[in-house]
Symmetry: C2
Subunit: 129 residues, 2 copies
């Protein structure tokens, strides 16, 4: 992935043609993949459910990350109530296909970080496309 | 990973007992995993080699991320010259075991991000423990 080796143009607005760098452009922070985890492995859908996760994501960060995940096509927002408006969030296939990334991270963490706990059961998310 | 479900204490200084959250506490940003990628898949070892990657990591961020990776036990620094001091960086087994995470990210990116390119050959890194 040296400039000298890769002559292809980078995808628009991205740092390079590296697929890892391009994914990190979207999910490279401490919070985004935790929202994906909640959607994917814990079947959470609602704002309050994400906030209830033990990491206590700040509300402004949660709102920002859900918007970014929606803009990137990882998540779909559906209103289940009009007045006041209330929405649920669902992974798209593209978002749900991050599962091997999250599972690999979980496996690494379980091996190397003392005291971590995997949930006893993973739930299957509903996918929207 | 709800507070209500997990009674275990979190690893010291971390946000929760979730292995994914704990790994993100170390590598959750846009740059750290690119340094790991350079070490793991492209056999880079030296400061200038990391800087030559197409993402053009800023020098202060590179210095900070190498320090953090060393402090977290992912990387070992070895001096190959005394005057002036020049160092090379090597992954530990712990750091090299992020390979399935990076490979899963690369596979996802190759599937979903148009225009990305995987390097033709992955090189095997030397591991230090």
């Amino acid at each position: 992935m040296d400039n000298t080796n890769v002559k292809t143009a980078s995808p628009e607005g991205s740092r390079s043609t590296c697929p890892i760098a391009n994914l990190l452009d979207i999910v490279g922070d401490k919070w985004t993949l935790l929202v994906v985890r909640d959607l994917l492995l814990l079947s959470k859908r609602r704002y309050g459910e994400f906030q209830n996760s033990p990491e206590a994501i700040p509300t402004n960060i949660l709102a920002d990350r859900l918007k970014r995940l929606e803009a990137a096509g990882f998540v779909k927002k559906e209103f289940y109530q009009d007045n006041p408006p209330r929405a649920e969030y669902f992974l798209t296939r593209k978002g749900a296909d991050l599962e091997p990334v999250l599972k690999a991270m979980g496996k690494w963490g379980k091996q190397y970080i003392p005291g971590v706990v995997l949930p006893e059961t993973f739930l299957s998310p509903e996918i929207r496309d």
